[in-house]
């Protein structure tokens, strides 16, 4: 883990929870698992403060704990979950996704879950003032809550979740070791590791929905949602005994889909984007994880139905077939001709050299899929090259693409392919090398490996470049947080004044200068937070869906 990542973790904790949680969280992130006395000693805080900070972190799913024997005693270790902390940046985009799908009701529920960290349905109802709500509103909220749980935006917390991955691995390893009579061989250790990973993957793929239970429908029950299972009419209801929390992984999937639509729109035009949006929208609920290789198949009819009413597909494609390009075809008519235009557009997308969309030949040829592996690759490449172009100029993109395509090369060969003088190529390559985007391999001509007689070959590795880029993101994000904190401290007195009870009731107590300063602060914050949001979308590509 890099320093940049740790600093960012610290900045996020400070921004969201204040200085006490920040110092405890930073300590845990930096040192790994620690028992309570050591946290108190190393952080220099009071025992009560440390306890409270740990409670906050555990409540918000940012820390885990495990009991482990140490000598004759059983010690409780605490560990920060760095991934969960970094994921908190995605709250804004996640809320936006919920608003798009479920409007205000979804947002209200999400807000309560986020504020509480973990929440029971009962507590949620108390927050929503359940008793004062009308029957209709209750039904609406229940429906939305069910949908959020069914689509896994909110997931039930299980006992296993409170133990960190490391602790779980250690426990499983210990169990595997107990079964053996002698010291395990290297092969046995590898086998055990492989088995463990397969088991984890199988559990993830199986992914039974936890937190919902079914019972036979009661005809008098109006507020419940009925589903048919076999010949029975069942009611699905939320398990009241469970706690629920936000599942950011699910949001990653939706946010990735957004970016794929943007990518296609950029490559073709708005209608290309609209078609892919329709395609993904039709099967979004069926998608399981961001690691999938392909989307579920979608038929032409499904895509046509999912398209918005005011689409302009006929305007956005030039067809040579007579009668189709006159812009008079009603896409929503469902007739063959409108489908034909969509089909033609899909063919354009299919032949696009991005190869993101493909036709599933096994299923009779009428179904289309998105290849997520290719899409992921293209999104990362677009991100990387747009950065390189802005930072090092177009020549760096040229050289990176050549190296990507051709593998290892020396500067003279590079100059030949890039049609550039060798000295220019050297300059660019060395600059890229200084920023970890290009690496060097030396091949000695003679046995004594004299530097002057070596061949020097340059090469790039996608994973190394991606990581270099990710680290830049972390550092920039940390800088933005620091600046945000600084701007707030600069105007801390003014902010304290606005919090006063009398000022909150009567805004006229603020002088014009105060108001101007507040406005300036708001603009600054918007700019900084907007940049954080945009950078986080790029982090999604580089870290979470890769």
């Amino acid at each position: 883990m890099s320093d940049y990542e740790l600093n960012l973790t610290r900045a996020i904790l400070g921004d969201h929870f204040g200085p006490v949680v920040e110092s405890v969280g930073h300590l845990l992130a930096r040192k790994g698992r620690l028992p309570l006395p050591l946290i108190v000693r190393d952080s220099g805080l009071k025992l009560k403060q440390v306890r409270e900070a740990l409670v906050v972190m555990i409540q918000h799913n940012l820390a885990t704990w495990a009991e482990a024997p140490m000598g004759p005693r059983l010690i409780v270790f605490y560990q920060a979950s760095i991934r969960a902390i970094l994921m908190r940046q995605r709250i804004g985009d996640s809320l936006k996704t919920i608003v798009d799908l479920h409007d205000g009701d979804g947002l209200t529920i999400m807000n309560h879950v986020l504020v509480q960290g973990k929440i029971t349905p009962e507590a949620l109802k108390a927050k929503l003032d359940w008793k004062k709500l009308t029957v209709n509103r209750r039904l609406l909220y229940t429906e939305v809550l069910h949908a959020l749980i069914r689509l896994r935006f909110i997931e039930a917390v299980q006992h296993s979740d409170s133990v960190s991955v490391d602790d779980r691995v250690m426990k499983e390893d210990a169990e595997a070791k107990d079964k053996l009579s002698a010291m395990p061989s290297a092969a046995e250790i590898t086998k055990a590791k492989k088995l463990r990973m397969e088991k984890a993957e199988a559990e993830y793929q199986q992914g039974n929905l936890v937190g919902m239970k079914r019972k036979i429908a009661d005809s008098s029950d109006t507020s419940a949602l009925k589903i048919r299972v076999g010949s029975f009419e069942m009611v699905e209801e939320v398990d009241e005994t469970m706690h629920f929390r936000v599942n950011f992984e699910r949001f990653n999937l939706y946010l990735r889909n957004h970016q794929i639509v943007d990518l296609v729109q950029e490559r073709t035009n708005r209608s290309g984007g609209a078609i892919v949006r329709a395609m993904l929208g039709a099967v979004e609920e069926k998608m399981r994880s961001t690691h999938e290789e392909n989307s579920p198949p979608v038929t032409l009819v499904q895509i046509t139905h999912q398209l918005p009413k005011d689409n302009r597909i006929t305007e956005d494609i030039e067809l040579s077939t007579a009668g189709l390009d006159r812009g008079e075809v009603d896409i929503h008519g469902g007739d063959n001709r409108s489908q034909d235009v969509v089909r033609q557009f899909l063919e354009v997308l299919r032949h696009d050299s991005g190869n993101i969309l493909y036709r599933d030949e096994l299923r009779g040829g009428g179904q289309f899929r998105i290849n997520f592996t290719r899409a992921r690759q293209q999104l990362t490449e677009r991100l990387l090259f747009s950065y390189l172009e802005e930072k090092f100029g177009i020549l760096s993109c040229r050289i990176m693409r050549i190296l990507n395509e051709k593998g290892k090369m020396d500067d003279k060969q590079l100059a030949k392919f890039a049609l550039l003088p060798v000295k220019d190529v050297r300059k660019v390559v060395h600059e890229l090398m200084a920023h970890n985007f290009v690496s060097l391999q030396e091949i000695p001509k003679t046995a004594d490996r004299t530097p002057i007689t070596c061949f020097y070959l340059f090469f790039t590795s996608v994973s190394v470049s991606t990581d270099a880029c990710l680290q830049l993101h972390y550092k920039e994000l940390t800088n933005l947080y620091s600046r945000m904190f600084y701007e707030r401290t600069l105007r801390s007195r003014l902010l304290a004044k606005t919090q006063r009870e009398d000022v909150q009731q009567d805004q006229s107590l603020l002088s014009p200068a105060d108001k101007r300063a507040l406005e300036a602060l708001e603009n600054t914050m918007n700019l900084l937070q907007g940049s954080i949001l945009r950078l986080d979308r790029q982090v999604l590509l580089l870290r979470d869906i890769a």
Binding site: E318, L319, S353, S386, E487, Q538
Partner: protein, 268 residues
């Protein structure tokens, strides 16, 4: 050799005479000898030379349009350096050979026959002017090619639209070459391979892309509009282009708190 009317003695005498007049070239193959007649002009050229000069001339001639490196010539002929230098000077004066330089090794002394044009290997091909890569020429030509491909990649009647799947008029490298010739953009004669190299640069720059048509490969534009929606957020924040980004840390001399770039950006 079978010349029925001549005896061996007569024949050897004739060959000796011809050889003295430089009208005959004697080649060796295995254990036997082969004889080759020379044209009058060539014979005339060789007649004025002494043996050393002739030897050097013949080695240079064997180099064809690739030329012969002076150092290699010396080891091959096995004559003293002074003699070789003198002979070369003489041959140069008679305008029989000329020195050329290679783009790859500009300091190497290479000689070839006077009337030959140096090979592409030496001159560097169409992209070199006076032994130097003509970057301006390449860039101008590339941007013209890009414009041409762009005009053929999107329907002009419908802005923002794309061509349907049956559109087959995306230009091929050969068509781009014809365009360059017809518009007289380049004074240099470019081959299809040269044009392909040029188009490859555009591909590497991310401006066009290669598609495999039924018969040939071709270029097609992909940046449909010139706007920069795809701009990386990394460089929109001042840190992205900051010259002291590597020195920057929270409690260092350079820090985001006291950063002038941040101040300018936020006050904008």
């Amino acid at each position: 050799m079978n010349l029925p009317n001549l005896s061996i003695e007569e024949l050897s005498e004739a060959i000796n005479t011809l050889s003295q007049k430089s009208l005959l070239l004697i080649l060796r193959q295995g254990n036997g000898y082969l004889y080759k007649a020379k044209s009058d002009s060539e014979a005339e050229r060789l007649a004025g030379m002494d043996n050393d000069e002739r030897l050097i001339y013949q080695h240079i001639e064997a180099g064809d349009n690739e030329g012969v490196w002076l150092k290699r010539l010396r080891t091959k002929v096995g004559l003293p350096n002074v003699v070789v230098t003198r002979c070369i000077k003489k041959l140069e004066q008679k305008m029989l050979i000329k020195p050329v330089s290679s783009v790859k090794n500009p300091t190497m002394k290479i000689y070839m026959l006077y009337h030959l044009t140096p090979s592409e290997e030496l001159t560097g091909g169409a992209w070199y002017t006076d032994q130097e890569l003509d970057v301006d020429f390449i860039n101008t030509l590339a941007s013209q090619c890009y414009k041409y491909i762009l005009s053929r990649s999107f329907p002009s009647a419908k802005p923002g639209a794309v061509y349907g799947p049956t559109y087959t008029f995306y230009p091929t490298a050969a068509q781009v070459r014809r365009f360059i010739i017809e518009m007289a953009i380049s004074t240099v004669d470019l081959s299809v391979n040269d044009v392909q190299t040029l188009l490859n640069i555009l591909v590497y720059d991310g401006k066009i892309e290669k598609r495999l048509a039924a018969a040939e490969s071709m270029g097609m534009d992909m940046d449909s509009d010139g706007d920069d929606d795809g701009r990386s957020a990394l460089v929109d924040v001042p840190c992205g282009n900051c010259p002291v980004f590597n020195q920057c840390c929270i409690d260092g001399v350079v820090s985001p708190v006291g950063c002038v770039y941040f101040k300018n950006w936020l006050d904008f």
